[in-house]
């Protein structure tokens, strides 16, 4: 969607599980956020431009990382706690130790309820700690955190290069209410309605081909696949 991209929040999601990444991506998109997801803490740091502790405003540092951190504005990092190699906690520490990114709010997710772990993360600077499964309602708590950094970044930009629209952009961001995805279809939480919803989605898929995203890869074929799949891709 190319509309008002600057006023959309950009979230960096980190999780080694494809399943969890898929879920958190959808949850964030449903909350009107732009999402980039990576499968490890080190890839997250790379994305931010922090590989090997070298910040990307050093022109000699990374020949393979074309990303200038000032162009990749990240309003929030949401990471799984339990990951091989760099844990979510390690990532949190690295972010908070970096002068360029310590103001990015970090949220930790975990499927285990370990109070000592939770307080350790919060003490280290995590804004929130979510227990999985994460729900849409949890993500509502994130808006104020992301808003803070967005306004702060905009103020910094104003100071660096005073531009015409400054007042306009600040108020636009400040006006962001709750979930913007008010394209919520009226799905009643009753088993009886389930098939109708799924079927209606199918119909919309068939009739609005230009809006349809392509089917994703990575689904193994070693089991008989229902015809449902063949139908949607045939269009």
């Amino acid at each position: 969607m190319g509309m008002a991209a600057e006023s959309q929040f950009h979230v960096l999601a980190v999780d080694d599980s494809l399943f969890d990444r898929k879920l958190i991506e959808r949850l964030l998109q449903k909350s009107s956020c732009q999402v980039t997801s990576v499968d490890s803490g080190s890839k997250a740091l790379e994305f931010l431009g922090l590989r090997q502790g070298i910040e990307s405003n050093d022109p000699n540092a990374l020949s393979t990382a074309p990303v200038n951190h000032q162009q990749v504005e990240v309003n929030l990092i949401i990471t799984d706690y339990c990951m091989p190699g760099m844990t979510g906690f390690d990532l949190l520490k690295k972010v908070k130790e970096s002068s360029a990114f310590k103001n990015i709010p970090v949220v930790i997710m975990s499927s285990e309820n370990v109070p000592a772990r939770i307080s350790r993360c919060l003490e280290e600077g995590a804004e929130e700690f979510f227990l999985k499964p994460v729900r849409l309602a949890d993500l509502n708590k994130l808006k104020p955190h992301m808003m803070k950094t967005k306004l702060k970044n905009q103020k910094l930009e104003e100071i660096e290069e005073p531009s015409k629209d400054e007042i306009g952009t600040v108020t636009a961001a400040a006006v962001v209410p709750e979930i913007k995805g008010s394209t919520t279809t009226e799905i009643e939480i009753l088993p009886l309605q389930q098939d109708l919803v799924l079927v209606q989605q199918g119909e919309q898929t068939l009739s609005t081909t230009n809006k349809r995203k392509s089917m994703e890869k990575g689904i193994s074929t070693d089991r008989p696949r229902p015809r449902f799949d063949g139908i949607t891709t045939a269009v």
Binding site: F19, S111, P133, T183, L192, Q194, T205
Partner: protein
């Protein structure tokens, strides 16, 4: 004529879903997945369930390999796999799979090998039951979709 066919299939789906909820195989998280599907992500539920199956099968296979090893002692690794299974099963709404994995995890925390073996068998059983039910669900859904498509394309009365 086709309309009647769709009604019957929808009734089948209702019955199947109601039964799965009644048995505790599925819970409300499954319904919440539906809320995340929309026209910008019309295949979300189908995709995410397939990813769940792929990942869970790998995890269960690894668990079996670990426990079948005569020299096995890495209960921590078992715990990590189970955390993933518990987490993803909760998110999908696969309540029974989740619960048996929690019990399995408790056995691993006590380094109880026979307990773990039992836990694995039960987890595999519950997982396959769920998978078969989901396939049945998707099959019926695909028929409904097919019928709807035929109606739209004018093969039957609107």
């Amino acid at each position: 004529m086709l309309g009647l066919g769709v009604d019957r299939l929808q009734a089948d789906i209702n019955r199947l879903l109601a039964s799965l909820f009644h048995q505790g195989v599925l819970d409300e998280h499954f319904l919440q997945l539906q809320q995340l599907q929309d026209e910008t992500s019309p295949n979300f539920v189908y995709d995410v369930i397939n990813i769940y199956f792929d990942e869970s099968e790998k995890l269960l296979r690894n668990l079996r390999l670990l426990l079948m090893d005569r020299e096995f002692s890495d209960y921590k690794k078992i715990g990590l796999h189970l955390n993933q299974l518990v987490g993803s099963s909760s998110s999908i709404g696969a309540r029974r799979v989740r619960n048996v994995c929690v019990a399995f995890r408790s056995a691993s925390e006590l380094s109880n090998r026979p307990g773990c073996l039992r836990g694995l068998e039960v987890a595999e059983h519950e997982y396959h039951y769920l998978k078969n039910m989901m396939h049945e669900l998707f099959q019926v859904l695909s028929f409904i979709l097919l019928l709807h498509m035929r109606i739209k394309l004018g093969y039957g009365r609107q």
